[in-house]
């Protein structure tokens, strides 16, 4: 699985290595080409956008990821209420011009596919299913992990960040 560090207080640190990121982006590119989807996002369940493909320039994908994650969260509460033990695996929103297809990738990630109503849902389903298998394999591959002692946050990072915050918040 993707590298997850558990800190002493119980917080979780999810670390995506370069190889995984490249692999994910490649899968999204393929999926976008095959399905002619307008936009494809890959994000984690906390709402964090990881990678995107397609025509996303005029789309606020950061916010879209946050909303999609809460969509999963809300419907998983709904699942409980109707007696479904697991989370719902996929969510589908049908519009006049565009549809949105959301599907989870393992427990911690999900895929958002935005496509025109002219594209059939069956096509999206088939290719998305394949993409999810590929994504799961990439997330399971730990061979590109950074060594444990390589720190992304070192000692002077916090003081430099403090200065940057002073600058931003002045």
């Amino acid at each position: 699985m993707v590298q997850t560090r558990k800190l002493k207080d119980g917080s979780r640190q999810v670390i995506l290595n370069g190889k995984q990121y490249d692999g994910i982006t490649k899968v999204l590119t393929e999926l976008a080409t095959k399905t002619k989807a307008s936009a494809i996002l890959f994000a984690d369940m906390s709402g964090q956008l990881i990678s995107q493909r397609g025509n996303t320039e005029n789309m606020n994908t950061t916010v879209l990821s946050a909303l999609a994650a809460s969509d999963f969260a809300a419907t998983s509460e709904m699942a409980k209420l109707v007696g479904e033990e697991a989370k719902f695996k996929l969510l589908f929103h049908e519009g006049e011009k565009r549809n949105v297809y959301l599907s989870n990738v393992g427990d911690n990630f999900f895929l958002v596919v935005v496509f025109d109503v002219s594209v059939t849902l069956g096509l999206i389903r088939i290719y998305t299913k394949k993409a999810i298998e590929d994504l799961s394999a990439i997330l399971d591959d730990e061979s590109g992990n950074q060594p444990d002692d390589e720190k992304i946050i070192d000692s002077d990072f916090s003081s430099l960040l403090g200065d940057a915050l002073d600058d931003t918040f002045k």
Binding site: V14, V63, A74, D156, F157, S158
Partner: protein, 194 residues
């Protein structure tokens, strides 16, 4: 915390927690209104007709590059009302730091305490404890007549002696100090644990 080595991005999630009408959304609105638009994204609010937060508010801020790394801060608020307890729980997923926005008015003391206990039980469900987690308290609405004295608030709410700030969020007083201190706390916390 989410780290993307390929993009050298460090993403932190900070959640504003507190009782209904304590000023959580107001904190975000102030930050959004004052920051350079190039550093902040859209502020999204999921509100009811009565202007109350129904699910959450969200915005992302950036501070540029630091030693080649790009830190990004995702700020969320939770709805304060008791009947939205389950949406509060889900927004805490993957949280790195918390700002507890308390209402300084004496008649809101009970609501403050109740929400703090709710926060503690939600954090516990996720494997955290208030004792070890990076969080701060903002005593908001200090400008209101009859606001409770700080030492009374401290005694009743700040039992882990976390950093605290006085705020008048509508005017922006204390808003940036609160956020800055939370971010610093989160970063130090992560550093200490690695």
């Amino acid at each position: 915390m989410f780290i993307n080595w390929a993009l050298q991005e460090i993403n932190l999630k900070i959640v504003y927690y507190g009782p209904g009408m304590s000023g959580k959304t107001t904190n975000l609105e102030y930050i959004h209104s004052k920051l350079d638009p190039s550093l902040t994204g859209e502020l999204v609010s999921l509100k009811t007709k009565e202007d109350r937060t129904i699910f959450f508010d969200f915005m992302q801020i950036e501070v540029g590059k630091i030693k080649g790394k790009k830190p990004k801060f995702n700020l969320y608020t939770v709805p304060g009302q008791v009947y939205y307890a389950s949406s509060r729980k889900v927004i805490l997923n993957g949280v790195d730091g918390i700002v507890f926005v308390a209402d300084s008015q004496p008649h809101r003391m009970e609501a403050n305490i109740e929400t703090l206990l709710d926060l503690e039980s939600n954090l516990k469900a996720d494997g955290h404890t208030l004792e070890n987690f990076p969080w701060v308290i903002q005593y908001n609405k200090r400008d209101l007549p009859g606001a409770e004295a700080i030492d009374v608030l401290q005694k009743k709410l700040n039992f882990f002696d976390v950093p605290h700030f006085e705020g008048v969020a509508v005017k922006g007083d204390g808003v940036f100090n609160t956020l800055k201190s939370t971010i610093n706390l989160v970063v130090q916390h992560v550093q200490n644990q690695l």
